[in-house]
Amino acid sequence: MTEVQKVSDQEIAALHERLAREAEEGGYHLNPDMPFVRGLVRGLIVNTKRYGYQSCPCRLAAGEKKADLDIICPCDYRDPDLGEYGACYCALYVSDEVLAGKRKVSSIPERRPSPEARIRPSLTGTTSVTLSLPYPIWRCRVCGYLCARDGPPDVCPICKAKKDRFERFF
């Protein structure tokens, strides 16, 4: 057994403040239920201390970044779940409707594919469209942000996902 990671109230408050600010800047919202969100934020900090990355607090991490890349918060499934259910799986992020109290969050079914299906084929070369572009196009797998440049940005300007969450789109 490993020691349970200790997390201070100050750490939770600091990350909560940052996540809330970044969410609003990108057009997203954190769940307004403060005690609930603080529990999730604590889980993110526990995972960061344990694995070195903030994997989803409501999924079992494999402990290997490559295998857990799709469940690093914000996860690859946040936006589809927000659109369909009004919240991401762990309900850290909620939609406008939920924030306004017009919709309630209920149980969200599993969206994550099986391990075999998670291995995505490289999009490069799979399109039938032949393009001649001065720069490659990079896509953020979390929010879909596209940019044309030599390499992906260090941080997605929309959802703040890190560089390794980008895939080459064209």
Partner: protein, 142 residues
């Protein structure tokens, strides 16, 4: 969610659940003295891996296993639901597992789901509920 008819073979997959089921039978037969913990309080049970906590309850629904994380609010809610129902169950907190035991648990619960969502409730090795929906949990325990 009911367990799929086919899936990974028993080797390396079901032993954890079988251990729990066997321990439940032993407890029923009275071969082991009542655990020291009160209802809803974790207790140490001989024959069960140390990372599996027995949460004693007055209601026996066979072997009931809840896999989750101490840092997941949904998992804490699932625990509250089981406590309110006074169900006797076993709890694995994946936050405290080392890599070897974590892999063992992931393999064991992959018979339910390989998406790694928690909380994951396994009832009698037959039914599986992912999430903390009280209606689904009650239905699986029926």
């Amino acid at each position: 969610m009911t367990l799929p008819a086919s899936g990974p073979g028993p080797a390396g997959v079901l032993p954890l659940l079988l251990v729990i089921a066997a321990a439940s039978l032993v407890l029923l037969a009275g071969c082991i003295t009542a655990p020291p913990g009160g209802q809803g309080q974790p207790a140490v049970t001989p024959g069960i891996p140390s990372y599996v906590q027995h949460m004693p309850g007055a209601v026996d629904r066979g072997s009931v296993l809840l896999v989750g994380r101490s840092s997941c609010p949904h998992c804490q809610n699932a625990k509250k639901i089981l406590a309110n129902l006074s169900v006797d169950y076993y709890w694995i907190d994946s936050d405290t597992l080392d890599q070897a035991n974590s892999t063992k648990v992931l393999q064991a619960v992959s018979v339910c789901s390989d998406t790694n969502y928690v909380p994951m409730l396994v009832v009698r090795g037959e039914k599986c509920v992912i999430g903390d929906n009280e209606t689904e949990i009650r239905s699986a325990l029926a």
